[in-house]
Amino acid sequence: MADTAVHPAASSEPRGPKPRKKLSRNNIIIYGTLLVVAFYYLLPLYVMVVTSLKGMPEIRLGNIFSPPVEITFEPWVKAWSQACTGLNCDGLSRGFWNSIRITVPSVIVSIVIASVNGYALANWKFKGADAFFTILIFGAFIPYQVMLYPIVIMLREIGLYGTLWGLVIVHTIFGMPILTLLFRNYFTSLPEELFKAARVDGAGFWRIYFQIMLPMSLPIFVVAMILQVTGIWNDFLFGVVYTKPDLYPMTVQLNNIVNSVQGVKEYNVNMAATLLTGLVPLVIYFVSGKLFVRGIAAGAVKG
């Protein structure tokens, strides 16, 4: 009590953490805007989910915003295993497995090559490194359409046209400029003295890569993986150009289902098919979102 006697006004004077008003004007504007934007983006998703869970009679009533009276998973099953995609009628499952068989090797091969490229460019300043890098980056600016046909010819010449591996090679090549840039910048941002110390310690090209650089680079590998998985999974153009109908990736099959002209439009099946196709990138985002942000931030802070 002696204290209060000495400092009678102590409780009213500023002390400790500054109190913040919860409903200040700024907060209202910020959260209001965020709510509107979130609503704007989530509404179509809501409509899709709701529609995919309705039966056709209910859809014909036309209330697209109303929740399903009777929930049915029939459209999902049909989209997955029975919908007709032009020639065959075994649903999206075939496309799903095709996409997996395309995406997994493409992601692995492109990341492996690009990370070694980036490492070599960042740390081993070999002769012509700058020229190599410039050409590679320049490659990123050439429109895809220009290269479509030349690549068809090239793939045909090496006998890979219309095969999965042909498409894997295409994805690897087109992912190279941006991935190499990503890795090069990341490795450049790591302290150079670490690399020098390892060289004095007698480590060579691969040992430094595997034992020094790799363990420090998890975030950037996650970033690269997310970029590649979503990019390759969502690809339509290369899939349709460089493969045959029974190897079509999921996106192409989705298009064939949605745009098929025979019979009635089964909106519920279309919605379910679309959601199924978008599921993989979505899962990747949710699982690795945190690492993704950290990786991007690490790259940004260190230049």
Binding site: P191, A198, R199, V200
Partner: protein
């Protein structure tokens, strides 16, 4: 005795920028050489050339009599300690110490023995299982030194190893490095821009500027007989007083400036008395006051402008005939700005440089 490191006609350019120009240095066995110079003068570059981390543009490097100009860093028999420690973050201290030995394919128990010995010398045994992130700056630097130590090399290269540490720790580790050198008797090349480190550690100091070596000599000689005005100005804190004027040797050698003129017969000229325009330099600690004036042939009246008490001594900024001069006094001296006092010095302790070439005369 054969020299430990021999650098012959070494040049290095980054494109059009010449960073090292035709350097020649011979370093004896077990010598402690300090490279000292202002930022950007090429010290790290020279060290990286010796380590083999940079390809030289021209010239040769010999280590222990072997031409290593084209050799890999790990084959040169050198260990290097970096300013940022450069410890491998994902390895334990033990892993850091043994990484180089594993790369060389050494047997496991030999690695163990060497790591244990280095840890004992540097007193980091309790830290062996920790990761670098869990160490203090001083401990990290010790591990970095240990990494060079385990490799049992003839030559140690240090690139500003202490500059990331606070003043107290720096002083401690400085003594430790000196002790280490006395114990191991390796050749050491040590880069710094701290003159105290240079003067206390070095057998010889190389003062660098713009990729050239200005002077390569013992600390004593660098301090007392700087080869040119740059070295004289660079070494010593606070720096030397310089007076601009003309040396007259028609009679007893005289220094004349616009405002003052005095006899410098005590001064030892390099090649006998030389006249002409010159800089006259005298260190602040060689200017005396009070009773010591008896030994000072040259004396002036000075007006005190500013006093900086520094504990052990006091730094006084004054004006002599309108010319600014600064000098050291005892820490207990009672001086105030505005005071008039008599100061003096012995020309034998002065340094005189040619006005044009700035070389010592």
């Amino acid at each position: 005795m054969e020299s430990s490191i021999s650098i012959r006609d070494l040049s290095l350019s980054f494109g059009a920028v010449k960073v090292l120009r035709n350097l020649n240095i011979e370093i004896g066995q077990g010598e402690f050489l300090v490279l000292l110079g202002s930022s950007g003068c090429g010290k790290s570059t020279l060290l990286n050339c010796i380590a083999g981390l940079l390809d030289v543009t021209d010239g040769q490097i010999f280590i222990q009599g072997k031409n290593v100009t084209w050799a890999e860093p790990s084959d040169r028999g050198i260990g290097m300690v970096f300013q940022s420690y450069a410890l491998y973050p994902q390895m334990t201290v033990e892993g850091n110490l043994s990484f180089g030995l594993k790369n060389a394919g050494m047997a496991k128990d030999e690695i163990k023995k060497r790591v244990a010995r280095a840890a004992e010398i540097l007193q980091i045994e309790p830290l062996l299982k920790r990761k670098p992130a869990a160490l203090s700056g001083g401990q990290r630097q010790r591990v970095a030194i240990g990494r060079a130590l385990v490799r049992d090399v003839d030559v140690f290269l240090f690139d500003e190893p202490l500059s990331n540490l606070d003043a107290k720790l720096r002083a401690d580790l400085r003594v430790e490095i000196k002790r280490l050198h006395q114990r191991l008797k390796n050749t050491m090349i040590y880069v710094t821009h701290d003159q105290v480190e240079a003067l206390t550690l070095a057998d010889r100091i190389a003062i660098m500027k713009g990729g050239n070596i200005q002077q390569l000599a013992s600390p004593n000689e660098i301090y007392n007989k700087p080869a040119n005005k740059y070295v004289a100005d660079f070494i010593g804190s606070p720096s030397m007083n310089f007076l601009e004027g003309v040396i007259d040797i028609s009679g007893a050698p005289q220094f004349n400036s616009d405002v003052m003129s005095f006899d410098i017969s005590g001064y030892e000229f390099v090649d006998g008395p030389t006249g002409g325009p010159a800089w006259f330099g005298i260190r602040p600690e060689h200017i005396v006051t009070g009773e010591l004036l008896a030994n000072a042939p040259v004396q002036f009246d000075a007006e005190v402008e500013l006093v900086e008490p520094m504990g052990s001594d006091t730094l006084v900024w004054a004006k002599v005939e309108g010319v600014p001069m600064h000098f050291r006094m005892d820490g207990q001296a009672e001086v105030r700005s505005g005071d008039q006092m008599r100061i003096g010095f012995d020309p034998a302790r002065a340094n005189i440089f040619n006005k044009e070439t700035e070389l010592r005369i």
